[in-house]
């Protein structure tokens, strides 16, 4: 029987990739952020999941404005990293799990989610950095990947409520997947930050704390705001919380405990956080 071990949530700020490349994990600026990860690495090394189902957003590597899917599910045999234009290393290739991808796709469409399917897609830092943080110093990623991209770039974005519902539908698909696999669900991005406009540099720790406090047992609290409301509270890119909301949805109604949480301001222009919700 497929087992869902829980959820791993983290910020995916590109500068983290730069810090890893330069070996700055112990630097005073970076240490409070990287200190959040040994407990997460330990948990993953104990649980040894086989597959990661990851909710993330693309930043103009795979998707451009010519075709912008609201929800896109990867169904490839492998997913490559590539040059994003501003100096991050090209990361390791991910092995896909097309059988599980197509099972999720069938289940989502049956559930009336009109998703886009991608048999070829690049994944950007929003995928690679969370993996680098979770499994540092490995030659190959120890899990197979099912990526699910949510449009957080071009409005109208899907509502928070819809993202939670999408996640819940993915969770039901995982429940009905006939395998012996252990699955970790991931949500990447956030927390509050705004890169653009006269309000650039906006951070809102009160809202971030609200999200962190309600993620475990009351995710409905996170979906009461409109997208404009979330942007107002979290910043234009803080809306990446949608990925966390969807990932929380995929964990379903099972009992969860918060195994670890770290919150630190700032990493680059961002309030950064990492969390594990463990299924008990």
């Amino acid at each position: 029987m497929t087992e869902i071990i829980g959820g791993y949530f983290t910020s995916h700020v590109p500068a983290i990739g730069g810090a890893i490349a330069k070996g700055l994990q112990g630097d005073p600026y970076w240490k409070p952020f990287f200190d959040g990860f040994p407990p997460i690495q330990k948990w993953l090394n104990q649980e040894k999941p086989d597959v990661a189902v990851v909710f993330y957003n693309d930043h103009g590597l795979n998707f451009f404005l010519d075709k912008m899917p609201t929800f896109a599910v990867g169904a490839a045999h492998e997913y490559q990293s590539a040059d994003e234009g501003w100096g991050l290393p090209v990361y390791k290739t991910f092995t896909g799990d097309p059988a599980l991808s197509w099972h999720i796709i069938e289940a989502l469409v049956d559930d009336e989610f009109d998703i886009t399917t991608c048999q070829k897609m690049f994944v950007d830092h929003a995928m690679s950095i969370p993996f680098e943080l979770a499994w540092p110093n490995v030659d190959t990623w120890p899990v197979k990947l099912v990526p699910i991209a949510i449009n957080t770039v071009q409005h109208p974005l899907p509502s928070a409520k819809r993202c939670l519902a999408l996640g819940r539908a993915v969770g039901r698909a995982l429940e009905s997947w006939d395998s012996d696999d252990k699955i970790v669900v991931m949500g990447t991005g956030g927390l509050s930050h705004q890169l653009d406009g006269a309000r650039a540099g906006f951070i809102n720790s009160d809202y971030d704390r609200f999200c962190l406090d309600h993620l475990v047992n009351d995710p409905e609290a996170l979906v009461q705001d409109s997208i404009a409301g979330i942007v107002e509270k979290a910043g234009t890119q803080g809306v990446e919380i949608l990925n966390w909301i969807a990932a929380r949805g995929a964990l379903g109604a099972r009992t969860l405990t918060k195994r670890t949480e770290n919150y630190h301001i700032p990493i680059s222009n961002t309030a950064a956080a990492s969390v594990v919700l463990e299924a008990v």
Partner: protein, 119 residues
Amino acid sequence: MSAMLVSERQPIEGTTLFDGDMAQRGYALNAMCYSFNDAENREEFRRDEEAYCRKYHLTPGQRRAVADRDVLGMIAEGGNVYYLAKLAGIWGLNVQDLGAAQTGLSVDAFKAKLLSYSE
């Protein structure tokens, strides 16, 4: 008739929501920036910025904003920051530099502002 901007429906101070109107307005500029995922294109832009902007049919307003390194101007002309960041990378600017440019602060003052949220 085009839909109202999301930001007009519910204005947020100092914030432009990148909606359909902005996505249409900024298409050429964002397409140019998207091309910078390719190192050869970044090099071509460095060699002849004017010709490269022409090749991507930037509007006069977009061309002016790029020539002036005017970040708020690029945003106003429909630039999306995820794509503009690739252009900024060519100029050796990171998101703190962009933040400083948009807020009128020095880079040090912008970094101090970010740190102040942790207090």
